[in-house]
Symmetry: C5
Subunit: 316 residues, 5 copies
């Protein structure tokens, strides 16, 4: 996510170089046909350009609206993970409890509560790594495995979707709490409902990650855009040439083409919120927030530092 309003020209150029070259070539061809090969009267009616431009703007408007919705939905899902992480912690602290009749002592209780909350932090990081396709062993070791108890760690080792299996383990941990008298069935169910919501958030993130925006939309927008870029210089050249300023066709064609291309490209990137790209939903920052809040709630002093945007104003 871009936090500061810096506009990085080099980045923009790198992303749109191909388009600018394409637009320049078309314009050059138009100029050559006009002056060199003598097709001087060749002309595209400007109303066609207006119609195509309007159609293109409408299509891009709808597409970018949907792309923004996807991005914002992804952000909402991770906002939901923040909320349910706090709720899960509040519920563990206030509902997993010493039942005076059966339990042994409060040290054991603290261990049980911390195991549940640490496993939750591992779940959040595991989900982040899965979405970002990060398979670096040191990251997994540092953030996911470190605070898991050995048993849980063992159990998820060979599983393909580790986040899913961690949530299932949380369910079994609560069952064990029930068996050992730390919780009654009615509160078990209440915390289980929080696990259900977390499971929903996981599934929704995976849906957005694994279901690309319909390719057909991209393709037809692309074709419409290219048709517009193709016709534009043929339509402008006769007009500029008449007022003896034919060279104006270059900056005007390229600028107009470029701004439509940029709007098109922006929508494509916005529709992919979990790709390690600078417009990503800031999973690093969100996981960091969760970790700080949960450590402080446990009165633990091992909370990490708050993550800051990097020097480019990017928060990942």
């Amino acid at each position: 996510m871009i936090v500061h309003n810096k506009f990085d020209w080099r980045l923009v150029l790198r992303f749109s170089l191909k388009n600018i070259l394409f637009s320049l070539s078309i314009t050059a061809i138009a100029v050559i046909l006009h002056f060199v090969l003598g097709f001087g009267s060749l002309q595209m009616p400007i109303a066609i350009i207006a119609t195509l431009g309007t159609a293109l703007a409408i299509m891009l408007g709808f597409r970018n609206g949907s792309a923004y919705e996807r991005w914002w939905e992804a952000r909402k899902i991770w906002g939901g993970i923040v909320n349910d992480s706090r709720t899960f912690t509040r519920q563990v602290l206030s509902m997993v409890n010493i039942n005076q009749e059966t339990s042994s002592d409060s040290t054991k209780l603290k261990t049980v509560q911390e195991d549940l909350i640490f496993t939750h932090i591992s779940f959040v990081y595991a989900l982040k790594f899965q979405l970002r396709e990060n398979t670096k062993e040191e990251d997994w070791e540092d953030k996911v495995n470190k605070d898991l108890n050995p048993e849980t760690r063992e159990l998820i080792t060979s599983k393909s979707n580790k986040a899913t299996q961690l949530l299932i383990q949380q369910g079994l941990k609560l069952k064990k709490c029930r068996d050992e008298g730390f919780i009654d069935e009615i509160r078990q169910i209440n915390i289980d409902n929080t696990l259900t919501r977390l499971s929903d958030c996981q599934g929704k993130s995976e849906r957005i990650k694994h279901t690309p925006f319909p390719k057909a939309y991209e393709i037809f927008n692309r074709i419409l855009l290219n048709l517009f870029i193709l016709f534009l210089p043929f339509s402008l050249l006769p007009i500029f040439s008449e007022i003896k300023a034919w060279w104006l066709v270059f900056p005007v064609s390229v600028m107009v083409s470029w701004v439509f291309y940029g709007i098109h490209q922006m929508g494509i990137l916005m529709a992919k919120p979990f790709e390690n790209f600078r417009w990503d939903v800031p999973l690093d920052a969100i996981c960091n927030t969760i970790e700080i809040d949960l450590h402080q709630a446990m009165e633990s002093n091992k909370a990490p530092e708050k993550l800051q945007p990097n020097e480019d104003g990017i928060l990942m």
Copy 2:
């Protein structure tokens, strides 16, 4: 669902051949009227074309927006089935339980849990086959019936909506668990709520499948599109003919007509997400994901292989 960005020209041609021929014929008629029959001054004002083109783009923009919403809703519903499948499994494993006072032994418990989870996998496949209208007996045998216990299998045989009846059987299985002391009423209700959400997902899929996008929308968009295609060459020909490049009317009319037609056609197909078409919501892949996750949660080693996109980049 198309995963890779390959653009298949043959497919596109097959889908739009009729439209291209229609557009070519209209243009040819315009040319014949103009040059052969001497209606040289016949002309459609270009502003009419601009108005119709803009109106068409607006209508298609709204329609395709709604079509995308349908498709995305279908995808969300099946994402919900993934989530609730995981939740159902977590709840069965952590809440269907040996109640020390009444039950016999843990082997029986494992049988009961596996029966519930296997029946769930059968439900998911039955729903997929019903939506895709797949009635091949070997598919049903292989995916739905194989792991059902004989009693359940018998019961659903003659029913018209097998997925619905499987969910009702799940309710009765939970009641039996309650009678045999594997679960208490409060947890029975909690798992029953998961069945309710699954029933909702089923009903929502069926709603999208059986309720076509209003035909009247299709028809009026079609008429508007045809009017645009019909008027276009009559509007362009005089202009191109004046600059002595009348032949340009062919490529320009056809290309412009084709791109609008393509946008129209795309919306029609996008609004039908369960039709065995390449833009379908990828039910095969989703069912496969559910099967893998559930087998791994049961610590079973019979999980199937992960499904990959085929050579055309299609995941069904």
Copy 3:
């Protein structure tokens, strides 16, 4: 709901005859003014037409988007009734139960379960008849009253909103089950929540039925449309007359007017989904589906036949 893609010209003509005549008259007046009365130079600037046409298309686009939302919401509500009917049945079959300590025998249980489910079917049909304003006594007798037990039938006789009172009776029936030991309070509440959702669906249907789409929208769209139809021939005639093809103003004006009128009219009809019109949400088919599913779940053999679209491809 229209299932097949047949396009019925007579129907379309009947609906748009008034508009076609209006458009023809305006065009005739324009021609008379032009040629007969000698206002040959009278002309409406085509840019005004383009502006009005674009504004009209935008307004119709938004209005029809909202109309489709209404129609789709109505369809979703009745989809919800399907889902909650199945859920209600599953819950009645698996939760209304012989409590070994207090109840007498399983015949009584079956009677109680069937009474609840048959009353539910009556509720669904009563709601349909109320929405469609069907007051034919034989229909009510055949579908609503036939399977009600005499006591319930008596109670709802004099009530103005029979569907509402049937749901309240269901609540009282569950209370009686509780008093007689067929259900405990926690499951009573669970089934009561299903009744609450059904009550919501009923209220939502009534909201759509009794709240017309804001009249002011219709009126201003209508005025904008008429202004467009009024100005159109005055704008086209000078152009066509210049190219000596003045008669073209008739087909072009009428066709363009007609397509905008059709889009306008379609939105008006789409916004009323419960009017016994051919674009209605298919309540007959939905009620039929519910009846079949519920009978099969009760292992009853009195399930009706599946409803098919009629010869015009309409499913009501």
Copy 4:
């Protein structure tokens, strides 16, 4: 809410008189500048009008879309109050109960149930009066205070938000039921959840009532509209004057200005659904429906008459 499709010209004129005079004056100034002061060649390019008109249509389209959403949301909220009123009544009748062990007699039970339901009707009317800013003492006396028991009446007297305090009293009444053995805690919570939903509906109505649609939107739409009205006659006059029909500038300018103004004004009014205006959500009719349904459910014969639209086709 307007029920019938009557179009009241006087009303429309009263609302748009200022705009029509503004538009006439601008046109008159244009004519004077043109013919009297000799600025005959003064002309606004028509493309500027087309651009401003399109921009205006787009802005109004979005704004009116949002205004309709607000209105429809308000209608949905009050639909929710209808549904939850029925649900509350069903729950009171079937769950507030004689617990054989502790209670005295069924007369007391009936009093308790009626007190809860009558207090609910008072709540609904209190909310209506607060939203419509009705402070007439006789209305409050007639609809809110009449059926309240004296204790409750006393308690809410000095409170600023009476509807809120009535819901809190309902909570305390349920607590008293619990203390006196008419209800157990699990059903108390179930009915309390219905109170929570009613509290949500109240808060949502107040949000719409007290949060005007952003003023900045109104202002910029207004400026764009005025710019359009200002430029329009200057753009049309030269064209009409050239064809010797300069007087046409009056009807055309005024009609086109008026239709855009009407669309603008309609959106402003639609965004305020609780203002005693004829486009209001019909709170009178909704409250009336609730009162009838609840009286009939209690088998009381004091249900009021059904409210009918007035002679102008308005249902308030």
Copy 5:
């Protein structure tokens, strides 16, 4: 939030001065090139302006639609906090209770209830101060700390997110109520669900606060706007100059540019609802409403005065 419809010209000027100067400079350059440097025939085709203007209007329409959604979502979230504050209070008053068997006396009960409700008011103000980035110690002392009991105050002192930790403390207070017999587990869970919804509202506010509207949208809208402003005078000047009214290019360019700029700028500000700006969601007024309602529900006489809009018609 702006309550009254006053239009403050100075404010508008201060916000748009830079844009007006930019637009004036471009126009001046166009005039200089035209008359002084003799590029008299230099001309931008007006169709390009129409296309860019339409595209700009579409992009701004979509962007402002989304910005309004954000603002309205923020308002909805705080409406939800109002509702859940009332619900929390109702539940505390009617469900935290003297359990006759274990508790001591009703004075203690009142202390416990007031501690829960006062802590809730502190939570609401803490959230407001965090969103508005208000770190003034006297404000925190006056509104958050004053009514907290010393223990709770101590516990949240060193925490980074005080609102989160206050909700977690509420959970622990409820647990203490349970331990001391003021509440049973089933009602504890019911109130805990209200805390969960409040936690969701907090998280949603933080999401909107900390996730700026995608910068890329701002940037491309800005570029498109500047391109439009840049081309506009070059397109108008030849036309005005031909009718010998070249000076008209100044007011027309500047007015048209300014209105598009204003619409653009409005969207940027609307997308940030928690910035101490005059278009903010009125958190002061909402917190004030909550405080009044809660004090009146507790029958306390320390309710603050109702907040009024200031002399500029602004309610913060």
